[in-house]
């Protein structure tokens, strides 16, 4: 019974998919779809901070550019570290390569005391 139900559901989906793929090639309701897709493309990635390029536009200064197509907007500035923020920040460095700092004295505003080591071993 369960198998039959699965087949029926799957069969329905396949049929729907075939019909709708055909529809899509005919570009029906294209205008409305574009508006919705634009909205989604802009909004669905608002949840990302460390994300894929051109997605989170809040930091790029170009987030509201009204591109009149479905295509994602490219920023003039390259997103170097691929984190979705089209900015100029340095990419992360490995622990072996990162700058070696020593804490001499208590710098003003610095975090005095012994920092917890956490679990950040290099290897």
């Amino acid at each position: 019974m369960k198998t039959l139900l699965t087949l029926l559901v799957f069969g329905y989906f396949s049929f729907a998919f075939a019909m709708e793929t055909q529809d899509s090639t005919q570009n029906q309701n294209r205008g409305q779809k574009q508006i919705k897709n634009q909205g989604q493309n802009l909004q669905k990635n608002q949840g990302d901070e460390n994300q894929i390029r051109d997605r989170n536009k809040i930091h790029s200064g170009d987030q509201f550019s009204g591109k009149n197509s479905n295509k994602r907007g490219k920023d003039v500035f390259i997103d170097k570290d691929g984190d979705g923020i089209a900015d100029t920040r340095a990419g992360g460095m490995s622990l072996n390569k990162i700058r070696k700092r020593t804490r001499s004295g208590q710098g003003s505003g610095g975090q005095g005391g012994n920092g917890s080591g956490g679990n950040g071993s290099g290897k």
């Binding site: 709708e20 899509s24 409305q32 909205g39 930091h59 920040r89 975090q111 080591g117």
Partner: protein, 366 residues
């Protein structure tokens, strides 16, 4: 007796549910980018590399009269030739539902996505996974005036560096106003909160940070083909600080590890000129100036000894891009050329640098 529902069956049921009385179709976007970067780490050492990057997105829309449900996957891969260990892979899976409260307008978006970033060898400390949930609504007050408000919640886990794992909560409000004079004005305010998952309750290690952002953008169409856009972006840390960790000999700050945006506050302002040379050729020229005041990162001398002042940067950058639509060859195909120049001056010698990037992108939106 409880029966387990298999994942494929659940997926089929879910898809069928959203297929009911709706149209559905796939969409695909992809771009391949190659760029030469003469200072990949953005410091005075000026180490250069050539990088290839690929971004691809595959989605499936289930659309009805006033609703669109979409599932999607996005993959990002980059490859550094000289510093191969810095190459990264990102996978992202998500679903978003958009409901229109009026015909073609007033969308409510609710979405959920999962992202995992995988690094190589030395960089495995940056591996992370993120779960993100969000909801936002844009309301049209009139045809040319809109307001949008939304909330975002992220949970970011650094698998090999849990000291820095955190939650992130954001709330924003934006307004977009267009005028008959071809002027558009955008104003946005946002409050971001970062809450570390591991509570340290230590004087030197922050448990949370609160940052406020304000954004203003003015766009002006000068002719049908020429447009000007100017913006100002303010960030201010209202409370908290960031974290670091010690080894026996050294101290590592969150900003220098993760480019943490909560580590600094300041002002950024920029100007972009866009010109449509032909219906399929768009050119842009941009300039940008930014002041960054680091709230918890001391400047240091050439031996790595911390100085008695916080790091402070001034950054000037310029960029130009030219994008060619190639839809006459294949619908959705385009090629873009980019050039970026950055000059950063800092009270920390390590961050006095110049940077140039030359990039070419071949993209395809289907």
């Amino acid at each position: 007796m409880r029966r387990k529902i298999s994942f494929p069956l659940l997926l089929v049921l879910l898809i069928s549910l959203f297929s009911f009385n709706s149209q559905a179709q796939f969409y695909l976007t992809a771009d391949v980018e190659g760029y030469y970067d003469d200072n990949i780490f953005n410091n005075y050492l000026n180490e250069s590399d050539f990088i290839n990057a690929f971004t691809g997105e595959l989605g499936y829309d289930f659309e009805s009269e006033q609703n669109n449900f979409e599932i999607y996957y996005t993959g990002f891969f980059n490859r550094y030739y000289e510093y191969n260990d810095k190459s990264t892979t990102i996978h992202k899976f998500g679903a978003v539902n958009t409901y229109l409260f009026s015909e073609n307008d007033n969308p409510l978006n609710v979405g959920l996505n999962y992202t995992v970033r995988i690094n190589k060898e030395d960089y495995y400390i940056y591996d992370f996974n993120q779960i993100s949930a969000y909801a936002n609504y844009m309301h049209s007050i009139s045809e040319s005036n809109k307001v949008q408000l939304g909330v975002i919640g992220n949970k970011i886990d650094y698998e090999n560096f849990s000291l820095f794992s955190h939650y992130q909560l954001k709330a924003f409000l934006r307004s977009v106003n267009n005028f008959e004079s071809r002027t558009s004005l955008t104003a946005a305010a946002e409050i971001d909160q970062k809450i570390y998952i591991e509570k340290m309750q230590s004087e030197g290690l922050s448990d949370e940070v609160l940052q406020a952002k304000l954004y203003l953008q003015l766009g002006q169409g000068i002719t049908d083909d020429l447009g000007l856009s100017a913006y100002a972006f303010f960030r201010n840390n209202l409370s908290g600080g960031n974290r670091y960790f010690n080894t026996v000999d050294y101290i590592y700050y969150e900003e220098e590890l993760f480019n943490d945006i909560y580590s600094n506050e300041g002002i950024e302002t920029g100007l972009t000129l866009s010109y449509l040379f032909l219906p399929n050729i768009m050119g842009k020229v941009s300039g940008r100036y930014e002041i960054r005041n680091y709230t918890d990162l001391p400047a240091a001398d050439e031996n790595g000894n911390e100085l008695d002042e916080m790091r402070q940067d001034n950054q000037y950058s310029a960029g130009a891009s030219l994008e060619f639509g190639l839809s006459e060859i294949i619908t959705g195909l385009y090629i873009a050329l980019n050039y970026n120049y950055i000059k950063n001056t800092s009270n920390d010698y390590y961050y006095d640098y110049n940077n140039q990037i030359y990039a070419i992108t071949l993209g395809f939106d289907f």
